[in-house]
Symmetry: C2
Subunit: 418 residues, 2 copies
């Protein structure tokens, strides 16, 4: 998803760090595909989980799952059976016109790929009415793959790219739609800022009138200030009832809901975020360069990926200090299994037999955004004590092996409520 | 995903129930698209979560996220920019051969849609080696959208359909690959059966030699006995090293891992489940028809969707009994918010103002698979007591409003370990 010509220091530093630290594979930079390494995959999963729990914790929001293919043929890119197309092209007896007609027929029978989740939600509206007994407001939420198109890159191999979108389509009374628009815009900005190290880099702006599409009365964008400029993470559109009526042609009465004593066709607010872009924003936002001088007055730079504890992909790394390799490894494996069983995302650092100094280990884990580093050593075998280091405070403390799991679980669940 | 000619009673009963009870919209039956209602969406999400936590709880399994588009051009279906194709077809000056050449070039620059997650994982292998310091075994796990093709339906509008696949690609030493194959086959069958009401409907069989593809030494299928016959939910292939070497052409040394003192190119075991098909299997498996006679010796049939407590989409439904509507509604809304905040999936039954008898309400919720029904009534306002009914025991008990949340949380988390 990322090809930037920008070569500012911060950008290239982060890109290198992401490639080295298992977030985004180097290949993904080249091909603009959303191919993530284990840490990037986990970060994306965590963002999606937080988004879902934030949106679904509001009453009357229902999850839906719609097809990524669309039969409406309004999208510019289609899924085509190449064998069938080649059969037509290789049929010598066809004239050009005949071949062209056959191809058009093939296209007519093919499906397009969706560019947003809005249409799917609008189609589900009629069924959803039953859920809420025609009571407004309510919402339909979905997370799914969409294809975006870059017109400027058309005809090139990267004319389309995939994006994971999270979408909430909110149906409300026309009377209250502008209040709801304000409510959701506020909620969404707050959500982005909740997990940010520098919340002020996330901002909101109104869409200018010229950019509004037909039937849309108001638009709001949530932006992130990347080093190369601001880009949109999420958009909110107040769509009125135009698109809803268009989707359900000629059945306005069936679309009506109760608004007090009146029956109304609801207004639609569409909230849609680009999860991949959001992930990139959080990566940039959490990159912290710290300068410190050591005891010899030498200047050191510390690079830390201070991702929010709820989002950071690895909560704890397990490493071995000095001592009998095989015995320490057994302790590590036991702890790993114990952590995984309760869902603590753990990094098996002890597999790496290139023994790094503790200093270098911390550098590596800081760049990975690892929240805690646990070192098992000779003294663990004797007394059960582990060395536990916190990414954010850089404090190292000893802790008994029997306490570590509960400590981590408490820390992680507490950070959800920060 | 479901178009079956089978019209056995059980099938049509379940299909009707799924459409009426918000699992799979009626449209989805027709178009074979994976369009799910709120309950189907939640069920699918729960299956994916359970799959992920089962696979990821094993050490050395890393999550990855690869592109749903493939540039290898080996897949039969491609994503094509229709405007570019039409431009070529509408260009009068082109002869048929020229047009054909231009189209071939366009196709060459286009991407295919993936049919499985295997290729993506094999491509990530080299990067993943670094994670584990070339130590075997390890695995790469992914859940994502794939397109399947039905050759018999080719040229028709439903030639391709979407499937959510969950995939684990396991890299192990050639020495131990057959043991690992047995291990994973056993694990996977156990996993499917864990959530089943009738575990014996899930079975395992070896793939006959004729069905094995090149380089594949062994295959195992996990089947479910649907009313119309057995179908595959998950497949395990022991792929040897052929495909891994093919993917990373001509760099065998880079592929090597340590196996004791030797260096070996690992063998690959591919485990891949069709989540949509699995969801259907659990729906069929959990459908229970119970006959009972009432006090007047009249025979009643009770239909219950006895989905496993961890999988069932709605854990609790909130309803109002007799009493002041506005006051009871306030209590319901308070409880709803309280439940949603701790992640208990709750159904706002009180919105439905068509007052059903308690008997009819239970019938409806049994068909939805709702685990608990909580009724707020006049006595709740007086004494704080709620009526709580359990789907599986059908026992109704009273419980104080202050205790209900903890009770539900405990019940749900306990059921995870059944």
């Amino acid at each position: 998803c990322i090809t930037r010509d920008d070569s500012s220091d911060e950008t290239s530093l982060l890109m290198q760090l992401c490639a080295e630290r298992y977030y985004i594979s180097s290949e993904a930079f080249r091909t603009r595909s959303c191919t993530y390494g284990p840490l990037g995959t986990e970060l994306k999963k965590n963002i999606i989980e937080q988004w879902t729990s934030a949106v679904r914790s509001r009453a009357y929001v229902f999850g839906i799952n719609t097809s990524s293919l669309s039969r409406t043929c309004e999208e510019p890119v289609m899924i085509v059976d190449i064998r069938a197309l080649n059969e037509i092209l290789n049929q010598d007896s066809f004239t050009k016109d005949e071949a062209s007609q056959k191809i058009q027929k093939l296209l007519k029978d093919s499906a397009s790929v969706r560019t947003s989740l809005l249409q799917g939600a609008l189609q589900q509206y009629a069924q959803a009415l039953e859920l809420v007994n025609r009571t407004l407001p309510f919402g339909l939420a979905e997370i799914g793959l969409c294809h975006h198109f870059d017109n400027q890159l058309r005809h090139s191999s990267s004319c389309s790219f995939e994006v994971t979108e999270s979408s909430l389509v909110w149906f409300c009374s026309p009377r209250t739609s502008s209040q709801w628009m304000d409510y959701w815009a506020h909620q969404r900005l707050q959500w982005w800022r909740k997990f940010a190290l520098g919340p002020s880099d996330f901002s909101m702006c109104n869409v200018v009138d010229e950019e509004l599409r037909e039937g849309t009365s108001h638009g709001v964008k949530i932006l992130y200030k990347f080093p190369w400029g601001s880009e949109t993470l999420e958009t909110l559109w107040s769509l009125g009832d135009t698109q809803l009526i268009k989707t359900h042609q000629g059945s306005c009465i069936n679309l009506q809901c109760r608004d007090g004593r009146k029956s109304v066709v609801p207004h639609v607010i569409s909230v849609s975020a680009n999860v991949d872009q959001g992930m990139l924003a959080y990566l940039f936002n959490s990159l912290q360069l710290l300068k410190k001088t050591d005891s010899k007055q030498k200047l050191h730079q510390r690079t830390v990926l201070k991702l929010h504890p709820s989002l950071t992909p690895v909560k704890v790394a397990l490493d071995m200090g000095r001592g009998s390799n095989s015995e320490l490894r057994q302790v590590c494996e036991g702890l790993l299994q114990e952590f995984l069983e309760v869902g603590i995302s753990t990094w098996p650092g002890y597999l790496d037999t290139m023994s790094l100094s503790l200093e270098n280990l911390h550098t590596k884990y800081d760049e990975m955004g690892v929240l805690f580093t646990v070192v098992v050593s000779e003294s663990t075998l004797k007394s059960g004590l582990l060395l536990v280091r916190n990414r954010d405070t850089t404090i190292r403390e000893t802790m008994h092996i029997s306490e570590i799991k509960c400590y981590l679980l408490k820390y992680i669940s507490a950070s959800d409520n920060i």
